[in-house]
């Protein structure tokens, strides 16, 4: 009879549908050997049973365990350092990491994912290692500010949680470091406008408008909205990038104005990317229906579709019927995600997130990159990933210089 190691491999192969004929025979022999074996096999091929056990398995805290491992780790690392000189070691270890990342990239081939994000979720133990004097950490807080109708400015990070101000009976409440809500019943029917500005190098801020609409505002973006909505429509204005989950109200359509373009909805989920330096405005629909108008042209989208509008080409909409929604929404889930993306497009995202400038020593090439990385890693991690793909950088005085 096959030994126990063989058995679990056979079952695994069975689950993967990869059993050879002889392996199938071995598995059958094992199954025949006892009723106990058959019962065990039945459990392992029952997804309900498996899911229940996985729930138990997931109870264990990986992070806590890792802290204990690293506490036992120093001895292990010291032994390493005896073999090589210190600076060599640090450089060597550094290049090893890149080599590993590169191997993973090669292994995964086209459309590759930088597996680094696996290691850098939560508090990454490696993040510290990478930060050097000429590096920049990912933003760790929100630096958004609200400009009130009277010109007064409130900085989110310097205010405590709770009601920040009251306007026309509506309270502006700070729910947490990156969440704001407008709550209460209006006492006046005048339009009072506030502007929420989220600068470069700031984390995503979430805003709940007085009608219940939820807006996620990316870095380097602004939203202008009334404290309360009246009349026939709900109208806001934006620049940069924002994701909207509009509260349903069939009587009052919700409108987002971006320069000459207008997005009209009743109650849907959609993303607008309208950074001026991107050249075009991309509206991506995740749920429901939207109508997009510009000048005298209009287009309607279905979920998963994306409309591109360029002011350079008047009145022209291009619709992508199968947009990569995950890529579009990566910013909201704290990821950089690239696919078929040019270097300048990547650098624009990096510049907004890390609040750095970018300078090109020569005209950037047309090559395209793919990959994903957690946005919480220091700038150097992202740059190293690109360097492994043949791009050369220098970082000084808050400026990334892209070398030919």
């Amino acid at each position: 009879m096959a030994d126990e190691n063989k058995i679990h491999d056979l079952i695994i192969k069975y689950l993967k549908g990869a059993l050879s004929e002889t392996e199938q025979e071995d598995l059958n022999t094992w199954l025949h050997a006892s009723k106990k074996n058959q019962e065990l096999f039945q459990k392992l091929t029952d997804s309900k049973w498996i899911n229940a056990e996985l729930t138990n398995l997931y109870q264990f805290d990986t992070y806590k365990g890792w802290e204990k491992v690293t506490r036992g780790f120093p001895n292990f690392l010291e032994k390493q350092s005896l073999k090589t000189e210190f600076h060599k070691r640090s450089i060597g270890r550094f290049w090893q990491r890149i080599a590993v990342a590169a191997c993973i990239l090669l292994f995964l081939g086209t459309g590759s994912y930088f597996l680094i994000h696996q290691a850098s979720r939560r508090k990454s133990p490696y993040a510290r290692v990478f930060v050097t004097a000429a590096d920049k950490k990912a933003p760790d807080k929100n630096k958004a500010k609200i400009t009130l109708a009277n010109g007064k400015v409130i900085y989110l990070d310097s205010a405590a949680n709770g009601t920040l101000v009251q306007q026309q009976g509506v309270n502006v409440v700070k729910l947490s470091g990156d969440q704001l809500a407008y709550k209460g019943n209006a006492t006046s029917s005048d339009f009072t406008y506030n502007t929420l500005h989220n600068p470069k190098g700031s984390r995503v801020v979430t805003l709940i408008l007085s009608d219940g609409t939820k807006v996620w505002l990316n870095s380097a973006s602004s939203l202008r909205y009334p404290v309360n909505f009246f009349g026939k429509e709900r109208k806001v204005e934006m620049s940069g990038e924002a994701y909207f989950e509009v509260a349903k109200n069939a009587q009052m359509p919700f409108k987002v104005v971006v320069n000459q373009m207008e997005v009209q909805v009743l109650g849907t989920h959609f993303n607008i990317n309208a950074y001026a330096d991107e050249g075009e405005i991309k509206t991506t629909l995740l749920e429901g229906k939207v109508k997009i108008k510009a000048n005298d042209k209009a287009v309607q989208l279905l979920p998963g579709q994306q409309a591109e509008f360029s002011e350079a080409i008047p009145g022209a909409f291009t619709v992508d019927l199968y947009a990569d929604v995950e890529k579009v929404m990566a910013w909201k889930s704290g990821m950089f995600e690239f696919d078929n993306t040019t270097l300048p497009a990547i650098m624009r995202q990096i510049s907004r997130w890390y609040n750095v400038d970018v300078e090109y020593k020569s005209i950037p090439g047309t090559e395209k990159f793919g990959g994903a990385i957690n946005k919480d890693v220091p700038l150097s991690n992202v740059l190293k990933m690109l360097e492994e793909n043949g791009v050369k950088f220098e970082f000084r005085e808050n400026k990334i210089i892209v070398k030919p």
Binding site: Y58, W66, R93, Q96, H117, Y126, H269, P303
Partner: protein, 200 residues
């Protein structure tokens, strides 16, 4: 036998690269805790055994050339540690379960748990290898049994996104287990096979 082409991970691990080490740790820590807990019925002790086992692996890192040897070392070492733990505690608190373990030989100790935990480790690593959003959706729906709508609310996203991610996850998870109606059918076929096949 290797199911994954993790050679890059192994060489990184042997070279003491922290990312590779962490990755190997992430793929095995929970399954090892689960395994040890099944054997000794003590969560805290199980976690300590899993950590200790992983440190043992690190001390011997140059002895390993493939993932399947690493996996089998981790599980065997965990089992042995559990065996020792129970033997030490035998006189202190002799539970029924322990008693039955010790009536079996050391070789047979934890045999069934070993098979279960090894299979779960594979499924777990398949899940953990999914892209972040995909993984969250998969875990919430399949493992925690939440509804699409509940997951959408929790993630602050639309139900359509959740559905998209769910479809993507099912495409990426290479296990029959999560194909609709799989288990009942397959088990049925297997039983039919037994009946039809004469005993050797």
């Amino acid at each position: 036998m290797d199911f994954y082409d993790y050679n890059d991970l192994i060489s990184g691990f042997r070279n003491g690269d922290e990312i590779s080490i962490r990755r190997l740790y992430d793929l095995h820590y929970r399954p090892l805790c689960y395994f040890a807990d099944k054997l000794i019925n003590d969560k805290q002790e199980a976690e300590d055994i899993a950590v200790e086992t992983f440190l043992k692996l690190l001390r011997k890192k140059n002895d390993f050339n493939n993932l399947s040897d690493i996996k089998s070392f981790l599980f065997t070492a965990t089992r042995n540690a559990c065996f020792d733990f129970l033997r030490k505690n035998k006189t202190k608190n002799r539970s029924r379960q322990e008693f039955s373990y010790f009536s079996a030989s050391e070789e047979q100790f934890g045999e069934e748990e070993m098979i279960i935990s090894n299979v779960l480790q594979l499924i777990y690593s398949e899940v953990e290898n999914l892209p972040v959003q995909c993984r969250t959706v998969f875990k919430s729906i399949f493992i925690e049994g939440k509804t699409t709508a509940a997951v959408a609310t929790e993630m602050g996203t639309s139900t359509q996104t959740v559905l998209n991610q769910k479809a993507k996850a099912l495409q990426m998870i290479r296990l029959k287990l999560y194909k609709a109606g799989f288990y009942s059918v397959s088990v049925f076929i297997y039983y039919l096979f037994f009946i039809a096949r004469p005993h050797q």
